[in-house]
């Protein structure tokens, strides 16, 4: 080293991008980001691999009844799974590897299909998301961060994501297929549930929300469409890290505009003075015709890019910050709908719904013609309330409405409705006949657009657990 503490061969190099083409710098940045992502994933994968191995070795060491030969076989099997996973990383899956069985759902950015992987015959749900729409709506940052965590989760309460790939126009997500449909479809079919049935679904939702929160996430858009039913009739939350619904509703400028237009229609001051107005709306609420209209439009609303704000907590609209308790407001609204037949703030327009949620103390009404137990009404009122008074998850579990619920074993008991399925591709629990105008096969990329959109870097994803099932 010389006098200034630098090594003798220390060189000052004048960096300049003069002389490079315009896209050299962004491309260099792109290559750098890709490599950073690559090493991050490589290190994580090594750690996880190690954990899987150590866990199995420990388990086997502790098992005194198993023969050494069988232990050896189990370790070899782990090696096989790890090898299959390494192979999967080299495997390029694309649209051509899947065949559509049926279109089963529609979301804001694309459709959901039941697909069959052509070589293995395995069945999956494939969701398509239009990249340009997602970019326009500024969904990417959220979607990516949340997907990362959910992709890692092994929770039985979250729909598993197995694989994702992309072309220049779409992201494709390959998930486990839950053949029982969703809670929205079930509510459309049954209108209302008994308190016992409601207790089952809401209790499972409490555990699912708790699981999501323990992963460090807030769902923000729990609604019946996102509560899916597995083959045994138990629920899973749809992979909301990708479901993106809440982001568009979460867009603050969108709400700002909504707020302004709502104020234009009826200013809050007029509203507050005019009690007749409140009564009028109350009348609308219990009018069977109006509810029928709402129900008829329910699915259309689910398909639209605006989405339904019916279940979103008021603090989310108000942009003053919120915590994960907002998800329990949504749960209260869903519980209300299960028992009453429509959500508490349902209206003919989303503007009106939004207004009612903000002014919830004036609009939360339990209709006279529906009987609710004291406990049921009480817990709903303790969920649909201001965040500081809302019940915590422990308080919810100890509320008298849930008396007798087995919180640790509920997934193992028989569900109230168990789907009766004739085959692994049975789609009778989905409103497939209502899904017109959806191409049977995904269209894929139209042009040979470059595969260099860095916004979607890191979307391509392969899950370890599937390699053991010969994905």
């Amino acid at each position: 080293s010389n006098s200034n503490g630098k090594p003798a061969d220390y060189v000052y190099f004048e960096r300049t991008t003069a002389g490079f083409s315009d896209d050299a710098v962004p491309r260099a940045k792109g290559a750098q980001l890709k490599l950073e992502h690559f090493y991050k994933v490589a290190v994580d994968a090594a750690i996880e691999r190690n954990q899987r191995r150590v866990e199995l070795e420990r388990k086997l060491a502790a098992d005194t009844s198993m023969s050494d030969e069988r232990k050896q076989r189990q370790l070899q099997q782990l090696g096989k799974r790890e090898s299959a996973f390494l192979r999967l990383r080299r495997t390029k899956l694309g649209l051509e590897d899947f065949r559509t069985v049926k279109v089963i759902g529609k979301g804001a950015f694309g459709e959901v299909r039941v697909v069959q992987k052509t070589d293995t015959g395995k069945i999956y749900a494939m969701k398509t998301l239009r990249k340009d729409e997602m970019l326009k709506k500024d969904q990417l940052a959220h979607v990516r961060a949340e997907r990362d965590v959910l992709a890692e989760s092994n929770s039985p309460w979250v729909v598993q994501l197995y694989y994702s790939f992309q072309d220049s126009a779409y992201l494709y997500l390959i998930m486990e297929f839950l053949p029982g449909g969703d809670l929205m479809t079930m509510l459309i079919k049954y209108d209302t549930f008994s308190e016992d049935v409601t207790r089952f679904y809401i209790a499972e939702c409490v555990l699912a929300i708790e699981a999501v929160h323990s992963l460090g996430f807030i769902h923000r858009d729990i609604k019946p469409d996102n509560i899916l039913i597995d083959k045994d009739g138990h629920i899973k939350l749809s992979d909301f890290g990708l479901s993106t619904g809440f982001h568009k509703q979460h867009d603050s400028s969108y709400y700002q505009r909504l707020l302004e237009s709502a104020n234009g229609v009826a200013s809050p001051t007029t509203q507050a003075r005019n009690s007749v107005m409140v009564n009028a709306i109350n009348l609308t609420m219990s009018s069977k015709d109006q509810i029928a209209t709402w129900k008829a439009n329910r699915r259309k609303l689910a398909y639209s890019t605006v989405g339904t704000p019916d279940y979103i907590a008021p603090e989310i609209f108000l942009q003053k910050g919120y915590g994960n308790e907002c998800d329990y407001w949504s749960l209260g609204a869903i519980m209300f709908e299960c028992l009453v037949g429509y959500p508490p703030f349902c209206s003919e327009s989303t503007h009106e719904t939004y207004h009612k949620i903000i002014q919830w103390p004036n609009y939360l009404m339990f209709p006279d013609d529906v009987h609710l137990s004291r406990e049921a009404e009480d817990i709903i009122r303790r969920l649909i309330t201001s965040p500081d008074r809302r019940l915590s998850v422990d308080q919810i579990k100890h509320h008298p409405f849930f008396y007798g619920v087995n919180w640790t074993g509920i997934r193992n008991i028989d569900a109230p409705f168990i789907p009766r399925l004739r085959s692994i591709t049975d789609t009778s629990y989905f409103p497939t006949d209502e899904l017109e105008q959806v191409p049977d096969e995904p269209v894929g990329a139209d042009s040979a657009g470059a595969n260099k959109d860095l916004a979607f870097l890191g979307y391509t994803f392969k899950r370890f657990s599937i390699s053991s099932q010969a994905f």
């Binding site: 090594p7 061969d9 190099f13 290559a31 290190v43 090594a46 090898s83 390494l86």
Partner: protein
Amino acid sequence: TPTSPGVAKPLYLCSPFVEAALVKGNFKHIVMLPKYADVMEWVAVNIFDFYQNLNSFYGVLAECCTSQSCPSMCAGPNLNYTWINQDRKSVQLPAPTYIDYVMTWIQNLLDDDNVFPTKSGREFSQTFPSTVKHVYRQLLRVFAHLYYAHYPQILHLRSEPHFNSLFAHFLAFGKEYELLDIKDVKGQPGVPVGIGALWERWKEMGILESPNA
């Protein structure tokens, strides 16, 4: 070591660039064969990744690597690699042509399910280890050319920590699985490969340590 007068020490051997790294520490954890896993699968997926990553950096540098700037595939003061053509003759090619041949050849191998099997149940062929050694050797030549001829451009684009780590990982992996011939890294007497000195330097710095050491 004193350098011959008039020849400046290559930038990639100078501080602070020789130490620049995206990945700190040695590569042990990501080079080591996952216990119980198949070594062929491990080598295959790593070759796949090295190819992809090197390709994305070459994609950036390609505009600086033209038949005018690099009329030959040089990698040292007296070293120009030759390509064996279809008539089994050694030919001199401009570096961009040479690299294009290499990358296209490797891409085709990677896409060939007989060489790099992806379908479940399909095995690696007997010739896989020797194929992979060829691949490794050619990838090494691409690295060697980029270091020798394009390092200032890598610096201008602020990519040296990334590129160094990719290459150090490549070297560590190649050494561990005997995919590299030392004489390919260092060159012949009187015909050194530029990156030979880099290899020595990094070994001294301890970043190429064998995972088993």
